[in-house]
């Protein structure tokens, strides 16, 4: 089955002259500290309203809930005991490796570089608490290579940017909601609350009211040569932004390092261009099965099976025509 974007990369396939490398995020959840600075930076930059009414959800430190029309970064918190750590370590050991890619010199700087000075005496083993752990992961739109939301958008409001990201044009979207049902990650949503700040009376109307809404990879910042608000603010470099090939190479290196230290629970999510969405622009390093973080274990873009579905629809239509024809032939006067 051929899809709309292949190994050439989504922006090239979308017809852009290729003077931008595909951009993306690498979210390394093993060094996330759950500060939620990314959530705050995202809300502030994109002027997104809050979800709910400052409620406590009773799910560890996560009172945000999930990604949605107004929440484009969401930090998940999961508390686990020793038994589960062992299970995660075991399940990670069974995964298939993609192999390390051979790539040229990087255009972005080294991430997580050690500070200057003699560090040979310093114990650099990561502090570990064997009987308990807290998983923290900042989730975001995956900017899929084969994006379901983009494929099904009937107005052309959703487009592939020159950076390979998937962006909604809020002034074109008519809020039909088809994209919401086509996202295998449950990211995009229609913004039905028209206010930016529910606690203040606002004269101006939110121009994005009742339109589909999701992470834009800070398109407005990228065209100005800036990086997205979330990665710019992340204090631990858990979220890094950069050229997609560099990020995946970094990610693979990082997993290899963690496996070497015995942390076989480490795994990549979205780095495989052969997966059901053609690989994602936002790659994650997870420490447990994806469903633990609320991510689907085997997402498939619906477009992949659309030719088959159209064939069935054609067959159903033909069957209906045949039924009507036979009804007229068989009816006595």
């Amino acid at each position: 089955m051929s899809l709309l974007a292949g190994p050439e990369g989504p922006s090239a396939e979308a017809g852009w002259d290729h003077d931008h490398e595909r951009k993306g995020f690498f979210t390394d959840t093993s060094i996330c500290i759950g500060c939620k600075a990314c959530e705050v930076a995202c809300k502030e930059w994109n002027r997104n309203p809050i979800d709910g009414n400052l409620e406590i959800l009773g799910s560890s430190y996560d009172n945000t809930g999930e990604l949605g029309a107004n929440t484009w970064r969401h930090v998940a918190f999961v508390e686990q005991g020793q038994e589960r750590i062992e299970e995660a370590r075991e399940s990670g050991r069974k995964l298939v490796s993609l192999g390390m890619p051979g790539i040229g010199p990087k255009s972005s700087g080294p991430r997580g570089a050690t500070p200057a000075g003699d560090l040979s005496d310093v114990d650099r083993t990561p502090p570990d608490t064997p009987e308990f752990r807290w998983l923290m992961s900042s989730d975001v739109c995956k900017h899929c290579t084969n994006a379901g939301c983009l494929d099904v958008c009937p107005t052309g409001a959703i487009f592939r940017s020159e950076y390979g990201s998937v962006v909604v044009q809020q002034d074109v979207c008519n809020g039909c909601g088809t994209c919401v049902s086509a996202c295998p990650f449950g990211v995009i949503e229609r913004r039905d609350d028209g206010t930016v700040s529910p606690f203040a009376v606002r004269e101006e109307e939110d121009p994005r009211r009742n339109t589909a809404s999701k992470c834009t990879l800070c398109y407005d910042r990228l065209v100005d040569g800036e990086q997205p608000a979330c990665s710019a603010t992340c204090p631990t470099q858990s979220i890094t932004f950069g050229d997609h090939p560099d990020l995946t190479a970094d990610a693979k290196q990082r997993v290899a390092d963690l496996h070497e230290r015995g942390m076989t629970e480490a795994r990549l999510y979205g780095a495989n261009p052969k997966d059901g969405v053609g690989g994602t622009g936002s790659v994650f390093l997870l420490l447990d099965e994806p469903e633990v973080y609320g991510l689907p274990p085997d997402p498939q873009v619906p477009t992949k099976s659309l030719p088959k579905l159209y064939a069935r629809t054609g067959l159903a239509a033909a069957g209906m025509v045949a039924a009507v024809a036979l009804s007229f032939l068989g009816a006595r006067r």
Binding site: G52, N53, L54, L57, G58, S59, G65, E79, E131, D151, V152, P154, T155, G156, A157, C173, N174, G175, C176, G177, T178, S181, F185, G186, I188, E189, D192, N210, K252, V255, H259, T264, A266, R267, L268, A271, N272, K274, L286, E289, E291, V292, G294, P296, P297, D298, T303, L306, L309, R312, T313, A316, A317, M320, A323, V324, A325, L326, S327, F328
Partner: protein
């Protein structure tokens, strides 16, 4: 769950609440005593931290989202089906010289496609931007193709409907120079209508199937057949209500065929599904709607075959069939919306299909990899 060996010394605790079924407890600040600012409330006192014993989902929260489609969309699915089936009946009636059936089918097609379009627009977030649908033709979007089919069908139905109304009114409508034009357009318009009609009746199956909503996704292989059958029985039923029995013979046969297809494809669809994906079709309100849809469809079908030559029984059977089709659309739509609420309906079938590919020796297409 014991975390450390010292936990064994603790007094027994009440069992922790599990976050099953997507329910979650939300507490406003007012509820815990800080709403009026007069006293400091214990913000975290009663909050139970959920520590799931099984890490099979993220606190029972949905993985995928349901589209914001409400009753108007179900109404549209129903009306679009009636319109498509009526378009086919109208053409058949035109070819075989059944003027009353032709007239009633054309008027039904115009009425239903008109109301259906209004329902579609009503459900948009920004109805005033409806025409943005016409910015592009997109093969990857069943919604886009469907919009063009609906638009084309509605326009042609308008022409044919105007002609029929004019004939009913004894050619007294103030059409002026438009009348000869409309007459000349009748042939091409009815050809166009009959070409678009089967697509209109069945594309909605592709629209729902081309999603990641668990129950619809699992029904991909059968939804077009189900919807085309449902459209057939509904259009047949509509013609039986509006047309004298002498001319409604083909409508009765079509309705009976539709009932057979509808009942069979619903059963095949359910059988092909993972139990978790099938559950929403069989339980709760959608389950009830679909049970009654099947009962009414069978009753209407039996009435059509046995008593279709009596005007009263034909009309009653037609009404039962129309209701059955509407209930089927409401049931399938609501079952899908319900199916996203439990994350297991997404996660379990996905894990199963991943494991099946593994077992078949395909190991290079997983989204999770070890570097």
């Amino acid at each position: 769950m014991s975390i450390t060996e010292y936990d064994a010394d603790r007094p027994p605790e009440k069992p922790r609440r599990r976050g099953g079924g997507g329910k979650r407890r939300r507490r406003g600040l007012a509820e815990v005593g800080m709403g009026d600012g007069s006293r400091e409330g214990a913000v975290v006192e009663d909050v139970e931290i959920e520590r799931s014993e099984q890490f099979d989902s993220y606190y029972g929260r949905p993985v995928v989202k349901a589209p914001p489609w409400e009753a108007p969309i179900a109404v549209y699915l129903f009306l679009g089906g009636v319109a498509g089936g009526s378009g086919l009946l109208a053409f058949g009636a035109q070819c075989t010289g059944r003027p009353v059936l032709r007239r009633s089918a054309r008027l039904t097609a115009l009425g239903t496609v008109g109301l259906g379009t209004l329902a579609l627009i009503e459900d948009l977030g920004r109805p005033e931007r409806f025409l943005n649908m016409m910015r592009t033709v997109k093969v990857t979007s069943p919604m886009s193709l469907g919009t063009w089919v609906v638009g084309g069908f509605a326009s042609l139905s308008g022409v044919l409907g105007a002609l029929e109304v004019d004939r009913l009114a004894g050619e007294k409508l103030p059409l002026g120079a438009l009348r000869p034009l409309l007459r000349a357009a009748e042939g091409p318009a009815s050809l166009g209508q009959v070409a678009l009609a089967p697509a209109l009746a069945s594309y909605t199956g592709a629209l729902l199937g081309n999603t990641v909503v668990p129950t619809w996704e699992a029904g991909r292989g059968h939804l077009p057949y189900l919807f085309a059958s449902s459209a057939s029985l509904a259009a047949g039923g509509a013609a039986m209500v509006t047309t004298p029995v002498a001319e409604a013979g083909p409508a009765r046969l079509l309705a009976a065929a539709g009932v057979a297809g509808d009942v069979a494809s619903m059963h095949l669809m359910k059988e092909s599904m993972h139990p978790l994906e099938r559950e929403p079709l069989e339980t709760g309100t959608p389950g009830k709607l679909l049970t009654w849809a099947e009962r009414l469809a069978i009753a209407g079908g039996v009435g059509t075959l046995l008593g279709g030559r009596s005007r009263v029984i034909a009309a009653a059977s037609g009404a039962a069939l129309l209701t059955a089709s509407a209930l089927t659309r409401f049931g399938v739509l609501n079952a899908g919306l319900e199916s996203v609420k439990d994350p297991r309906r997404v996660i379990e079938p996905q894990k199963a299909r991943l494991a099946a590919r593994r077992a078949a020796g395909i190991s290079d297409d997983a989204i999770t990899t070890a570097g």
